[in-house]
């Protein structure tokens, strides 16, 4: 009984045969191409409008949209190959065969050997030593206990060695095209996020449009939030919000005498005035002139802080464009070429043209269309050491300072905030 149990136990150990398993993936041929339309999350856009007759009231029309995505999908066949290898199968089978054969030989010999007990030994229990036949059978059992499991393990490993191949279809997105779709008016609570981080609202919408007055606001509006998502605005709407903020500031803060205010406040008011002029035009022109004259007087007097904070620390053309958003663009074919000098004076402009001449170390001439402007290059600007050879194409952001005469030439002077070469 004990022998049978032991044999079963040892044979059971054969189940512990370990296998080395590895998986590799091989890409097969492309099966087909197809396009898959999907609708993914879109967003909310806003269009700002301000009635010139009522510049203190801003209207925002909200449009919700989805993103209709068309994915170009390539479908491939892919083979997942699982390889199983019993590393010791050969050695195990060899050992198993050898031990099992030796066991069989010992068992066979046991029948031929003497069954007489070993009378040279008499143990404590009064029994003689085992006969040669018994000894041979014991060896036979010992060898079979090694041989059979080794053989079993080896055979299991050998039988399980091989590879399984599973062929699946896989998709790879080769490209995608997004389009705005399902545009519709949306209604819901809209919060105004102010520049100081506070929120005002909610302001209800009607037919996808909300309106609010500037008077109750205590600061400039920075953006609009619809269900915790910022409403994206186009460039025109952003300009209108800046202009609206400028006019609101003028409404909130009255100014009697420009000479009585600090330079910092003067600069901010001038900035607000320039922005508001987009809406109210000549209604604030007089105040803008007064402020610029006062600022000019202070600059000529060498007073510190007569430039906007950060104006000298601008780091790129893009920053300069943001800090001095151009009201007019002057280049070949631009619609603003028709603007007269009065309209241009004291306005931010974007000029694209060619370097025509250098009149002095800090004044150059840039020509566009059939016109030219003098460009004042501030000596402490970070870009002023760039090379601008004659005939090179440049673009610059600056402020028009009126007509200037240098030698026999007379042209509008643009105080450049940033100038760079373009191809």
């Amino acid at each position: 009984m004990a022998r049978r149990l032991s044999a079963v136990l040892l044979c059971g150990l054969a189940g512990c045969a370990s296998m080395d398993e590895s998986m590799r993936v091989e890409r097969g041929p492309k099966l087909r191409d197809f396009e898959r339309p999907r609708i993914v999350e879109g967003g909310v856009t806003g269009k700002v409008t301000i009635d010139p007759m009522a510049p203190g009231k801003l209207s925002l029309a909200l449009s919700g949209y989805d993103t209709c995505r068309t994915e170009r999908v390539e479908e491939f066949a892919e083979e997942h190959i699982r390889e199983r290898r019993g590393a010791g199968a050969g050695a195990s089978i060899s050992a198993g065969v050898l031990f099992s054969a030796a066991s069989a030989v010992a068992l066979g010999l046991s029948f031929a050997l003497s069954k007489e007990p070993d009378r040279t030994h008499l143990d404590g229990a009064g029994r003689y030593g085992p006969s040669q036949s018994q000894t041979a059978r014991a060896w036979s059992i010992g060898l079979v206990c090694f041989g059979v499991p080794a053989l079993a393990v080896g055979l299991v490993q050998w039988l399980r060695t091989g590879e399984e191949i599973e062929t699946v279809k896989v998709e790879q997105i080769a490209g995608q095209r997004d389009e705005t779709c399902n545009v519709r008016a949306v209604d819901g609570p809209v919060y105004l996020r102010m520049e100081d981080g506070s929120a005002v609202g909610p302001v209800p919408t009607s037919g996808g449009v909300l309106s609010f007055e500037a008077k109750p606001l205590k600061g400039p509006v920075d953006s609009f939030v619809f269900y915790e998502r910022e409403v994206s605005l186009d460039e025109g709407s952003k300009s209108l919000v800046i202009a609206f903020n400028g006019c609101a500031k003028l409404e909130r803060e009255s100014l009697a005498d420009p000479a009585a205010v600090a330079t910092g406040a003067l600069l901010k008011r001038l900035e607000a005035t320039r922005a508001c002029r987009h809406l109210r035009g000549d209604a604030v022109a007089a105040e803008q002139t007064r402020l610029e004259e006062e600022l000019g007087r202070r600059r000529e007097g060498g007073e510190a802080g007569t430039f906007l904070p950060g104006a000298k620390s601008l780091k790129s053309f893009e920053e300069a464009t943001q800090a001095y958003p151009p009201r007019f663009t002057l280049h070949d074919g631009s619609a603003d070429l028709a603007q007269g000098l009065d309209a241009l004076t004291n306005q931010n402009v974007l000029v694209r043209g060619r370097v025509q001449a250098g009149l002095s170390p800090n004044i150059g001439v840039v020509a566009y269309a059939d016109r030219e402007v003098f460009v004042f290059l501030p000596s402490d600007a970070p870009w002023v050491h760039d090379d601008f050879p004659l005939g090179s194409s440049v673009e610059l952001v600056g402020v028009v300072s009126g007509l200037q005469t240098v030698g026999e030439r007379t042209a509008p002077l643009v105080r450049a905030v940033w100038m760079r070469k373009v191809r």
């Binding site: 022998r3 404590g124 229990a125 085992p130 059992i141």
Partner: protein
């Protein structure tokens, strides 16, 4: 694990031969006593230098006949254990300490072999 199982199997299946008769066990003890010839044991068993040890002890115990039977085989085997400490080979000569140990622990064995 498998080595232990193999060892157990070997013990269970290979280490036992046929059971010796009582006479053979008895004569095995005589053989061991007479091969060692320890002074203290000889005195207890009444043996002298001139004694024929094997003949005297065999005669005293009565195990010269193959039909001999112990009154208690297990008790005799238990008494015999000290003199096979050095080995159960029938030619093994036990030490005098082991012989004295056996005779001291089993006075009945001394009487059995004709001693006092």
């Amino acid at each position: 694990m498998s080595m232990r199982v193999v060892a157990v199997l070997l013990v269970l299946t290979a280490c036992e031969g046929a059971e010796a008769t009582d006479a053979e066990v008895c004569r095995d003890v005589v053989r061991r006593l007479c091969s060692s010839r320890c002074e203290a044991a000889d005195a207890k068993l009444g043996l002298t230098i001139d004694s024929n040890c094997t003949a005297q002890l065999t005669a005293a115990s009565g195990c010269g006949s193959d039909d001999f039977k112990f009154e208690s085989r297990s008790a005799f085997l238990s008494c015999r254990l000290p003199i096979i400490r050095a080995g159960d080979n029938v030619d093994q000569v036990p030490s005098c300490d082991d012989v004295d140990d056996m005779l001291r622990g089993c006075p009945s064995l001394v009487q059995f072999y004709g001693g006092r």
